[in-house]
């Protein structure tokens, strides 16, 4: 495996560990969103290249855990869309995740920069 591949693999591993928090945060900003707008919102923040095959199963797991709720909305224009929004448990999870990330990133920055 080349050095470039190792770097890309490391970034995908980091993202895998925090993507649920990024999705919860995006949902808290958007109030409610469907899969494609969530992906666009994450891409605007630099998380581009996230596919539908990653985001929808993640949303399904978050819904199973009671962190988000969803509803199908049928409109006159475009296909029916499933909108997601945060629950109270989801907000609490996001707050806890933010605290955990700050602690972790501070420690990691110290470890890297001395």
């Amino acid at each position: 495996m080349g050095r470039r591949n190792v770097r890309e693999d490391r970034q995908s591993q980091w993202l895998k560990g925090v993507l649920d928090l990024a999705v919860l945060a995006a949902l808290s900003r958007e109030t409610s969103a469907y899969g494609y707008t969530l992906m666009a919102s994450l891409a605007d923040l630099g998380f581009d290249g996230i596919k539908g095959g990653t985001i929808y199963p993640l949303l399904g797991r978050l819904e199973d855990d009671g962190l988000v709720k969803s509803e199908w909305v049928t409109g006159e224009a475009g296909p029916p869309r499933k909108y997601f929004w945060l629950t109270a448990a989801g907000r609490a999870e996001l707050d806890a995740g933010r605290d955990g990330w700050h602690t972790f990133s501070t420690s990691m920055t110290k470890a890297l920069e001395g």
Binding site: G35, G53, Y56
Partner: protein
Amino acid sequence: MSTSQWHYSRALAEQLRINGVSESKVREIVAQVESHVGSTGEDPVDAFGQPVAYAAQWQPLSPLWWVRRVGVAGVVSVGVFCVVMAVVKGGPWTAAVTIDRSDVVTLATLFVLLAILPWTSELWLSRRRGANLGESHPPSDWPVRIASSAVAILGVTAFAWLSDGSESTILQVTRWHLVVVGLIGMSLMFRAPAHPGDPARPVDAPWAPHRTWRTRLRRLLP
């Protein structure tokens, strides 16, 4: 090569059912894929990966689940065997029907046809199709079908040869008992999870109102 949404939906629904995902969840997942592809115009394989891989993201196929399904199909084949024996052997309903070793060949044949072949070679072919969707030259199913049928025929023939001439009684049971046990075994067909070769796209959309059996029946009547 691009993949049509319809083909992708069918293949994905099939793989989700094989993995044991409930039908209501299958409807949700397929509808989400169709909604995403309808909104973005993306190729479904590019957006979600091959149906086998995407279905595994929701629920991978567990060996225990597979064993359970083979077991259920085995019970169904025993049910069919009992009904066939009750019909073929005839006689009064209260008379005892003798099941001897040669009848076990019939049971073995039913077991191979209803349980072993569907859940081995057919399952493997279905997963291969669901992992190569959109390819311009997909591998042919026929060599595997012919080879697995040949192995099954050889196996049953060998079993028949081993029990040839032996008509020693294994069991004596009244005819009506056979029918009751057979019908109970066969009824599992309606409760059993979908056959591996079930690529039907879900009919009902998840946002549609729930249709009860009464409303379904009423629609069928003039």
